[in-house]
C-alpha cells in the first residue's frame, strides 16, 4: 500500500455569516458583534488519499468543494478535526492571485516560484520549460495586461506542473484554455499520474472528471455523500442531478 498523502479526519469548517456589516468598529464598540450566524461549510468529512491517486471532487455550488481545497492548501484551518497533507502542495493560480498585471511573464514566473516555495535558482532552471510548455513565445517579455485570459491560465498551469509538487490541486480553471491546450494539459496530467504524483481535481465537467480521476468524492451541503470509483460516483451524481432538473 502506498503512503498516505492526504489524511482528513472528521474535518469540519464553520464560517460565521455576518449581517449588516458586523465587521465595523461601531458594532464592536456597541457590542453588537453577536449578530452572526454559524454556517458549517464542511461537516465531519473524512477520507484519505494515497500517493499516486487522482481524486475528483464533485458537488453543487456551495457544497464545500472550495472550502475543502482551502483546507488542503493550508490556507485555512479546520474548526474541528484534522487535515494533514504530506509534501508540497501546488494550486493552480490565476490572474489576481499571484500574477501581477504590470509585470512581464518572466518576472511573474520568478515571483510565482517563490510563492509556491521554490528557490529563485530552481525557478531560473525551470523557466525555459515553463515558457515552452505554455506556448507563450515572445509574449513572455511583455506585461500580463497585454495577455489573453487563456494565456495567463496556460502560464499558471505550466508553472504549477513544472514546479514538481507532491500534490497538485486543480480547481476548474482548465476550462479557460482552447481545446488543443486542454488536450496538452490532460497529457501532462497523465504524465503526472505516471510519475506517481497525487492530484485533486475539482470540476463540474463530469466528462473531464471521469476521464482524469480514478476515484471521486461527492460533497453535498458540506457532507461527504459518496466516496468511490469514479464511474459509480459520477453516475450517481448525474442521476441525482437529473432528478433535480
Amino acid at each position: 500500500m502506498p503512503n498516505e498523502v492526504i489524511c482528513v479526519e472528521a474535518a469540519s469548517k464553520r464560517y460565521r455569516l455576518q449581517h449588516e456589516g458586523a465587521g465595523s468598529l461601531k458594532n464592536l464598540l456597541l457590542c453588537r458583534g453577536g449578530r452572526t450566524e454559524a454556517l458549517w461549510a464542511l461537516h465531519a468529512v473524512s477520507f484519505t488519499v494515497h500517493e499516486g491517486e487522482t481524486v475528483g471532487v464533485v458537488g453543487h455550488n456551495g457544497s464545500g468543494k472550495s472550502t475543502l481545497l482551502g483546507l488542503l492548501a493550508n490556507v485555512s484551518r479546520p474548526t474541528e478535526g484534522i487535515v494533514e497533507v504530506h509534501g508540497r502542495v501546488a494550486p493552480l493560480l490565476e490572474l489576481g492571485a499571484g500574477f501581477h498585471d504590470d509585470l512581464t511573464g518572466i518576472e511573474n514566473i520568478a515571483l510565482h516560484g517563490s510563492i509556491l516555495g521554490l528557490s529563485n535558482r530552481r525557478m531560473e532552471e525551470l523557466t525555459p520549460s515553463i515558457v515552452d510548455f505554455a506556448e507563450l513565445g515572445s509574449f513572455i517579455d511583455t506585461p500580463l495586461r497585454t495577455w489573453s485570459a487563456g494565456m495567463v491560465m496556460r502560464l499558471g498551469f505550466s508553472i504549477a506542473v513544472y514546479s514538481d509538487p507532491d500534490v497538485l490541486l486543480i480547481d476548474e480553471v482548465l476550462a479557460v484554455g482552447d481545446e488543443a491546450f486542454q488536450q496538452k494539459c490532460y497529457d501532462r496530467i497523465a504524465d503526472f499520474q505516471r510519475q506517481g504524483k497525487t492530484i485533486l481535481f475539482v470540476s463540474h465537467d463530469m466528462e473531464a472528471v471521469s476521464r482524469v480521476a480514478s476515484r471521486v468524492l461527492w460533497l453535498k451541503s458540506g457532507r461527504l455523500l459518496l466516496d468511490g470509483p469514479a464511474s459509480e460516483v459520477v453516475a450517481a451524481y448525474q442521476k441525482a442531478a437529473g432528478r433535480v432538473d
Binding site: 465587521g23 468598529l25 492548501a73 490556507v75 493560480l93 490565476e94 518576472e107
Partner: protein
C-alpha cells in the same frame, strides 16, 4: 514561554520564505517605478514639493524659520513619509492580496513585511537625495552619520510593528482605514516635522501653566517613539539649531524608552498578526 517558542517557530517559517519576501519587495519597487522613466524621481516629487512649500510658508509668511530651515524640514519629512507610506501601504496589503491568500499557503506576514521593506528601500534612496541637498547647501558630514544604521533599525521596527497591526485589523474592520487616516493626519503634527523639538522645549513664560510644566510636556511628548526618532535623524544629519531657538538634548533614558517601545511595537504587531492570520481567509 509558549508565546516565545510559537513566535520563534513562526519566525523560522518566515525565514524559510526569505526569497519570497525579497521577490515581493522587488516586485513592489518594480511596479512602483515602472511605466515611467522618471519613476523614482516622480515619487520624490511629493515630499520635495511639500518641503518647498513648508519652507516658503514658515520662513516668509509665518516668519519663524532659521538658517537652513528647509534642510531640517526635509530631514524630518523623509522619515515621517517612510512611516506614513509604509503603514498606509501595509494596511491595504492583506486585502489586496486576498485572492492569492485564499488560494495558496505562504506565511501571510511576508506580504506586509515586504511592503514595509520596499518603502524602506525607497526611504534609503530619498536619504541619498537629502545627502546631495546637504552637500549643495554645504552642511558638513560628521562621524555621527555612523549612528544612522541603528537609528534606521529602530525606526523600522516601530514602522513594521504598526504596519503588521493595521494590516491585520483592516481585514476584520473596514473602518480601520478611515480611523488610520485621521490618526496619521494628527500624528503629523505630533511629531517634529514642520517644527523642531527645540522649539517645543522653549515654551515662553507667557503661557504660565505650560511654562511651569514644560519638563513634563517635553517628557510626555517624547514618549512617542516616532517623535524621538525623527529628532534623532536631525541630530545625526544636521548641526544643532541656533541657541535662540532653544535646547532639547535627547537624553539616554529618552532614547532607551523609544528603543524599548519600538521593540515592543514590533513584537506585539508580529504576535497579534500571527494570532489572527488563520482567520484571514474567511474574512477576505
Amino acid at each position: 514561554m509558549r508565546f516565545a517558542s510559537n513566535l520563534a517557530a513562526e519566525t523560522r517559517e518566515l525565514c524559510r520564505y526569505h526569497e519570497l519576501v525579497r521577490n515581493l519587495m522587488v516586485r513592489d519597487l518594480k511596479v512602483r517605478y515602472k511605466n515611467s522613466a522618471l519613476g523614482f524621481l516622480w515619487s520624490l516629487l511629493n515630499p520635495l514639493a511639500q518641503v518647498f512649500i513648508i519652507t516658503i510658508v514658515f520662513k516668509f509668511v509665518i516668519r519663524i524659520g532659521f538658517p537652513n530651515y528647509s534642510a531640517y524640514v526635509l530631514a524630518g519629512f523623509l522619515p515621517w513619509t517612510f512611516f506614513q507610506m509604509a503603514v498606509l501601504d501595509a494596511s491595504q496589503s492583506i486585502l489586496l492580496h486576498g485572492p492569492l491568500l485564499k488560494k495558496v499557503y505562504i506565511p501571510r506576514e511576508a506580504i506586509p513585511i515586504s511592503i514595509v521593506l520596499s518603502n524602506l528601500v525607497h526611504f534609503g534612496l530619498a536619504l541619498l537625495v537629502l545627502f546631495v541637498y546637504m552637500a549643495v547647501i554645504r552642511i558638513p558630514f560628521t562621524a555621527k552619520l555612523l549612528l544612522l544604521p541603528p537609528l534606521i533599525f529602530f525606526h523600522l521596527l516601530l514602522t513594521m510593528g504598526i504596519g503588521l497591526l493595521v494590516s491585520c485589523a483592516n481585514v476584520f474592520y473596514e473602518d480601520v482605514k478611515y480611523l488610520m487616516t485621521v490618526c496619521l493626519n494628527l500624528m503629523y503634527y505630533m511629531v517634529p516635522v514642520i517644527y523642531v523639538l527645540e522649539q517645543l522645549a522653549n515654551i515662553p513664560p507667557r503661557f504660565p501653566w505650560l511654562y511651569a510644566h514644560r519638563d513634563a510636556v517635553l517628557a510626555i511628548y517624547q514618549l512617542n517613539p516616532l517623535a524621538v526618532w525623527i529628532t534623532a535623524y536631525r541630530r545625526i544629519l544636521l548641526p544643532p539649531v541656533p541657541d535662540v531657538i532653544g535646547h532639547a538634548p535627547l537624553s539616554l533614558p529618552t532614547l532607551a524608552v523609544a528603543a524599548l517601545l519600538s521593540v515592543v511595537a514590533a513584537v506585539a504587531g508580529y504576535a497579534v498578526f500571527n494570532r489572527y492570520k488563520w482567520e484571514f481567509a474567511e474574512n477576505l
